[in-house]
Every structure is written in structure tokens, then in C-alpha cells.
């Protein structure tokens, strides 16, 4: 529309003009937007292939306006491997929850990284199984109450939270691993940079890239959207500190 006005903020092209089914205060909406914005800014919409998880964001193929594959729970990095090896010129990304990546899909993600697959993986870590009603996740904090740890997670019986980014940073062939958060605008801007960098690494054939995004789940945590932000900062960030965990190319450069 050429009426002298200029869009300052708009919906990313790579998202459909739809209201999502996500709960009020959920971090998936923001995470979706970050991924879509990066796809737009890097002009990848025509060649991007997304591999969706099982969990709340299994519905994401409806919301993204890019080609998407929905396979079995936890297997997205294997599916992405098969696609990328078939058509290396496409930009292939996985979007996974913590149950998807850190529990049922640990083998797939670790070995995709071990092979140095030139794909980009996003881990949305909200320390809970959202879609099934708030059960314990591999990332659930000690003492955190969930529907399967009604008295809080007890490490003697249920173990301690797994830190996927730290684990993946130890893998030789992983090129870029960073943990970010979508709790406030400042962190969202940092997250946006990380998401874009992860895609850029794939575009430059630099190998496996992964961004972990700490994300609130007010419904699963049984708190208000506002309280969930505070809880994320006070508790989740304690166990999952933000920051760059690995940049193979920068290490090589210095």
C-alpha cells in the first residue's frame, strides 16, 4: 500500500496470519516469531524445511508458512539428516521441546551433532511436558512440582535435570551452541541474534548449530504469565545459565 506509511513492525512473512492455540504467556509464540523473522531476514522462506516435534508445537506446521515435516516424537534430527543429505542446498531446521529432544530423542540429537550434520536445531526448554498436561521433563528442576512429581522432583528417585546445551557443546563436530531466553525484551533481542546466527552457520556450511531457548509455560507451572517470567529468571536460569557454550569457528579463529 503506497499511502506514504511505512510498516515499523509486522508479522513475519514466514508465519501464517493465524491466532495460535498456545496458552496465554507461553513462550512458543515468541520462539516461533524469532525463527520466522530469521528466515525472513536471511531470505530463506523459499528453501527452508522445518522438522516439527511432538508436543505443544506439533501444531507448528499450521502456523509456519514454509515446508514442514512432522515425524515421530524425538526423531526430528534424524528426519532432518535424511532430508539435508538428500537436498543439501535446502536450509533444514528442527524445532523441539525438552521432552522431545532431552528425553525420547537424546540419541537422535547427539548423533546428528556427532556427525556434524549441517542442520540447525532449536530446543524450547520449559522444564515440563506441556501438551500432555504438565508432567516431569528431563529438564524439570529439583523440587519442581509437576503432575508426576506431585511432591516435587526428588533427585534420589527421579534424577537431576539434563543440560542439553552443555552436553552438545562437548561434541567435537558441534559448531555452534548457545542458550538464550525469551523472558524479557532484552533477552528476546539476544535470542534473535542467536537464532539468526545458527541459520547463517548452516548457510555457510559450518556444520551443526543449536540454540536452546528458555521459555515460560505458565499453564504447566501453574502460575500467571507475569509470575512465570520471574520464576524463569530466578529458577530456570540458575540451572540453565544463558550464554555461548560453543563456537567452533571462533575458537579456531582465535
Amino acid at each position: 500500500m503506497n499511502d506514504g506509511r511505512r510498516a515499523v513492525v509486522q508479522r513475519p512473512q514466514s508465519l501464517e496470519p493465524l491466532a495460535t492455540h498456545y496458552c496465554p504467556g507461553c513462550g512458543h509464540g515468541t520462539a516461533h516469531k524469532l525463527v520466522a523473522q530469521a528466515i525472513d531476514e536471511l531470505d530463506l522462506q523459499e528453501i527452508a524445511i522445518g522438522c516439527a516435534p511432538v508436543g505443544c508445537s506439533a501444531i507448528m506446521p499450521r502456523y509456519f508458512d514454509v515446508d514442514m515435516i512432522l515425524g515421530p516424537h524425538g526423531r526430528a534430527p534424524a528426519v532432518a539428516t535424511g532430508f539435508k543429505r538428500a537436498l543439501p542446498e535446502k536450509i533444514v531446521f528442527c524445532y523441539q521441546g525438552d521432552g522431545d529432544m532431552a528425553a525420547i530423542g537424546t540419541a537422535e540429537i547427539i548423533h546428528a551433532a556427532a556427525r556434524g550434520e549441517n542442520i540447525t536445531c532449536f530446543l524450547i526448554n520449559n522444564a515440563i511436558y506441556g501438551m500432555t498436561g504438565g508432567q516431569m521433563a528431563p529438564t524439570t528442576l529439583i523440587d519442581q512440582v509437576t503432575t508426576t512429581t506431585p511432591l516435587g522432583r526428588v533427585k534420589e528417585r527421579a534424577g537431576s535435570p539434563l543440560r542439553m546445551s552443555e552436553i552438545l557443546a562437548t561434541v567435537d563436530e558441534a559448531a555452534y551452541v548457545e542458550r538464550v531466553s525469551v523472558d524479557n525484551p532484552k533477552n528476546i533481542r539476544k535470542a534473535q541474534k542467536a537464532v539468526k546466527k545458527a541459520f547463517q552457520y548452516q548457510m555457510e556450511n559450518r556444520g551443526f548449530s543449536m540454540v536452546e531457548i528458555l521459555s515460560p509455560c505458565p499453564t504447566g507451572w501453574r502460575m500467571s504469565p507475569t509470575d512465570s517470567r520471574a520464576w524463569l529468571v530466578e529458577n530456570l536460569m540458575e540451572v540453565f545459565p544463558l550464554g555461548l557454550l560453543k563456537d567452533k569457528w571462533e575458537e579456531q579463529a582465535t
Binding site: P72, R75, V79, T81
Partner: protein, 358 residues
């Protein structure tokens, strides 16, 4: 002059796959099929393709899911325990209607089982196996030549119907070396294969494509699961109509008709030669496709022949499909064992005593 080569069954399957245009093979070591990934690891990259030794059979099948979505001819091979790990993926293949080829070289079972040659995976492979009520196309080669031919044919059938095509064979056939004729065979002529217009290539200015291992309201090709399941049922009926394959030997004059598949049928074939020379009137119906199963020819034959014998390398699986085809029109006997090959003597005696029973 066709090229004749002495080759092991498993290697013949690898060679056949490459000839049939397989470009992406994913696998995990498991006996008795290791010669297939070993062959592919060397020869597929030579042919410009991709070989990955996956971290598990679960990953193999999901890597195939990605390559199939990209439109590639993709294959894996495994044995029983690995096949079990692939079931989740196979159910998703069925739901997403993606094609792939799976070579299953059976061993003993259940559980870890043994390395013996058996036919214990009949139920799991022909009835679907995983959750959700789906079907695979199943080919059952009788010898190394057919193992080579069927592997090529499986790619055509998978592509034509957008289904998983399984080549079901046994440890013995996988590890047996025989001279075979190296020739290109097709189940469907290349020019008759439907265009893969569903293949994912990135939006590229068009409407986005979704490949979904299920039906989800609001996305995917089907509005609901009823629609998807009705479509799949129609497809399976079409497959049954078009692709049922069997071999019938001497059934016109027979008093006894044997039904057997795979390497067991090879044993039956040999026994029949001797029995026919001795004047016994026995024949065989050998299902070449186990799904679709040749129900109709067995039903028709049972209108005249009153004695059937099912021989299989398990404790009785295909015998249920034969019994269903025959109904109450004939008597169905069974000879089977679940550990090692059934000897020619056992087969010969079982057929002869049925013939003599009058």
C-alpha cells in the same frame, strides 16, 4: 548375453538397490544382514549416493523418512529386533504415504532370538506390525535370483503406491552364494510410475507443502483420521487387485496342494519333483507377495482340492491366511518349526503321507 555373477544373497540385494536407483541407504549392524550395509558403505557412495551407519534402527527409518520426503529412493535392511525398533517409523511412513524399501533378513525370535533361519516375522510384516492398522507390500523371494529381482521391484511398488515395500527373506538366503543373472527388472515400467508431485522442495513461490505422519485437523492432506483411513483402505484394495503375485505348480491334477513361501518353498519345490516322479499328485501355490496375499487362487483351488498343507518356518502364521481362504471346503494341515530349516525329508514325508491318506 546377460552377466552371470556368483554372489551372496545379501550383497545381491545391495547391488539390486543401487541398480534400481536407490540413492540413500541408512542402516545399523545386525546379523544376519551385515553384508548389506557393508556392501552399501562402499558401493553406494561410488554411485554418487549417501550411506549413513545410523545410531539405531529407529534413526535409520527416520533418516529414510527425511530422504523419502525429498523424493529419493531410500532403503534400509535389518533383522527382527531392528525391525521392531523401526515400527514406529513405519507407521509414520504409512500415515504420510511415503515410499521406501525395507529388506528384512529374518532370524530367530521372539526377543533377541537366535541367528537361525526362520520365518517368524510373517505376522508382524504382513499385518502391519506397528500401531494404527496399516499395511506394507511384502515380497518373499525363494532364491538369490529372486532376492535380487524383488529388491528392484520393491522400489517400483513403493513409489507407485507410496507405501513401504518389504522384501522378507531368511538368514539362509541372505548368506547363500549362488550364480545369478544381473539384469534390470521392473514391477512397474518406469514410464508408468506416477510423478512425485508431493515431493518437498521448499516453498519456492508456491503453496507450502506439509508431510505429516498422521492426520491433524487444519494441516496435512486429510481433514480427519476417518478420511485418511478410508483412503488407505481403498489403496490397499487397489494393491490387492493389481499386485497379487504367486506361482502355481501342478495344481490342476493335484490331490494335495502345498502352500509355502520363501526358502521353504524352495524345499517344497524339490520334494515335489521327486514325489511327482514317484506318481504322487501334489502341487504348490507359492505366494510371491505375502501382502497382498493370493487368497483368490487358494479359494478357487479349494473348490476341487480337498487337502492343503502349509509349510512355514514358524509355529503357524501364514496357515491362518490359508485357512481363511479355504474356509470349510478343504482340510488344512500344517508343518512348521521355528528353529532352523525344515529338512527335505520332513517336507517329503508330510506331503507323501497326506497323498497316501486317500
Amino acid at each position: 548375453m546377460a552377466e552371470i555373477v556368483l554372489i551372496k544373497g545379501n550383497e545381491a540385494a545391495g547391488k539390486a538397490a543401487i541398480m534400481a536407483g536407490c540413492t540413500h541407504y541408512y542402516g545399523y549392524p545386525i546379523t544376519p544382514q551385515n553384508e548389506i550395509p557393508e556392501y552399501m558403505s562402499l558401493h553406494l557412495p561410488e554411485a554418487g549416493g549417501t550411506f549413513i551407519q545410523a545410531e539405531s534402527e529407529t534413526s535409520s527409518i527416520n533418516m529414510m523418512f527425511g530422504s523419502a520426503a525429498a523424493g529419493m529412493r531410500t532403503m534400509t535392511s535389518t533383522s527382527g529386533p531392528g525391525y521392531s525398533l523401526m515400527l514406529e517409523g513405519l507407521s509414520h511412513f504409512a500415515a504420510a504415504e511415503l515410499p521406501c524399501v525395507l529388506v528384512l533378513v529374518s532370524r530367530g525370535g521372539p526377543g533377541g532370538g537366535s541367528l537361525e533361519s526362520t520365518q517368524l516375522d510373517y505376522f508382524s510384516v504382513t499385518k502391519g506390525g506397528a500401531h494404527g492398522g496399516y499395511r506394507n507390500i511384502v515380497l518373499a523371494p525363494m532364491d538369490v535370483q529372486e532376492f535380487f529381482d524383488h529388491t528392484q521391484m520393491a522400489f517400483d511398488l513403493a513409489d507407485k503406491y507410496r507405501m513401504v515395500a518389504v522384501v522378507l527373506t531368511e538368514a539362509t538366503l541372505g548368506n547363500m552364494a549362488k550364480p545369478i543373472e544381473i539384469k534390470r527388472v521392473h514391477a512397474v515400467p518406469s514410464e508408468e510410475l506416477p510423478a512425485k508431485d508431493w515431493v518437498m522442495r521448499g516453498k519456492a513461490g508456491k503453496k507450502k507443502k506439509l508431510i505429516v505422519g498422521g492426520a491433524a485437523p487444519g494441516f496435512g492432506s486429510f481433514n480427519d483420521l476417518n478420511e485418511l483411513n478410508r483412503h488407505l483402505a481403498d489403496k490397499y484394495r487397489t494393491v490387492a487387485l493389481n499386485e497379487t503375485r504367486y506361482e502355481a505348480i501342478e495344481i490342476e491334477e493335484a490331490d494335495v496342494v502345498v502352500v509355502a513361501f520363501g526358502i521353504t518353498a524352495g524345499g517344497v519345490k524339490q520334494s515335489l519333483i521327486q514325489l511327482n516322479q514317484e506318481g504322487y499328485r501334489a502341487g504348490m501355490i507359492r505366494p510371491i507377495t505375502l501382502f497382498p496375499f493370493p487368497t483368490e487362487i487358494i479359494r478357487k483351488t479349494s473348490e476341487r482340492v480337498k487337502k492343503f498343507l502349509v509349510v512355514e518356518g514358524n509355529m503357524g502364521q501364514m496357515v491362518e491366511d490359508v485357512q481363511f481362504a479355504v474356509g470349510d471346503k478343504a482340510e488344512v494341515s500344517f508343518l512348521g518349526k521355528a528353529e532352523g530349516l525344515i529338512s527335505l525329508e520332513e517336507i517329503y514325508s508330510a506331503i507323501r503321507s497326506l497323498c497316501e491318506k486317500g
